[in-house]
Symmetry: C2
Subunit: 150 residues, 2 copies
DNA sequence: CACTTCGTAACTACTATCATTACATGAAAA
DNA sequence: TTTTCATGTAATGATAGTAGTTACGAAGTG
């Protein structure tokens, strides 16, 4: 199956919004994300409920950040998206009667749970401000490279 | 999409095979795994190519372990299955032109790669012998519980 | 040769993600 | 108040991955 790219997409959207001083419409965001305005609305819905973004209708409406960049981590975004399944792999049966399968499940769950905990902790260490700074660095590098080709 | 349960399934199969002194047919394994013989053959194909199991046709044929339990880790099995994608989440674009998206991808890749490395290392620490021992412990507990109900 | 068992291709069912269409709701501008 | 803009959301379709199933060929045993 296709992989879930919502976290990646909304982070992308939020950083573009951070570069603007006015709300961005779903249409504008859809252009940035190379997708459809309805997909944008659907994906951002969870963030709105979590207060991470604010949406307004009508003239001058659109999407704006609901909190300072420093106060939002990638983990917050992940949570606002409903904490989608991280792993593509899983057990055949969740609560098997077979003792062999129980032993297998236990070993796999152990490893996967630890990896999940580590990953989520890592997401919690990166704020939108971190990402915005990284973008600015890349942007400066990009401009420097254009000035001095070769 | 359904989650990939092949690792879980083949581990289950290998431990059942370890409890037998003769090859197990795909039919027998399919009963253990509550699935179809063809699914068993398909899933075990990679393990055969990796030498982790041996298959034989005709009378007395079936599947047998190709290596001692102590010599095979869950990581080996994972590799023999073709190292299927671990994560359900991914980036929208792998090599985006947009610098914002590059910053996002970099941060996410960083976290996911570390989690993947940790998980795979963990899989490498657990051998089939470890799992077999855990099964035996569970089996002993199970029998004790039956003897002394309440 | 008869029988068993694997090897594999082809087809189906199910599920998840994302795209798209259609229309209702709400808010600002004219 | 009417028009216009923009979100909110349901319904539908396209695509892809997993697993189940059928069918048949290949290879080995008795």
């Amino acid at each position: 199956m296709k992989r879930n790219s919502r976290l990646s997409a909304v982070l992308h959207a939020l950083l573009h919004m951070a570069e603007r001083d006015r709300p961005m419409t779903s249409e504008e965001l859809a252009v940035c994300l190379h997708t459809n305005p309805v997909v944008v609305r659907r994906t951002m819905a969870g963030l709105r409920e979590a207060g991470l973004v604010i949406s307004g209708r009508g003239h001058g409406g659109g999407w704006a950040l609901g909190r300072p960049l420093e106060d939002v981590t990638m983990r917050d975004i992940y949570a606002a998206l409903g904490e989608p399944m991280l792993f593509q792999m899983g057990n055949v049966t969740e609560s098997p009667g077979c003792l062999v399968e129980q032993a297998v499940n236990h070993a796999l769950d152990d490893a996967f749970h630890d990896a999940e905990a580590m990953l989520i902790a890592r997401l919690g260490e990166v704020t939108l401000a971190t990402l915005a700074d990284d973008f600015k660095r890349r942007f400066a590098e990009h401009r420097a490279a254009l000035k001095q080709p070769g």
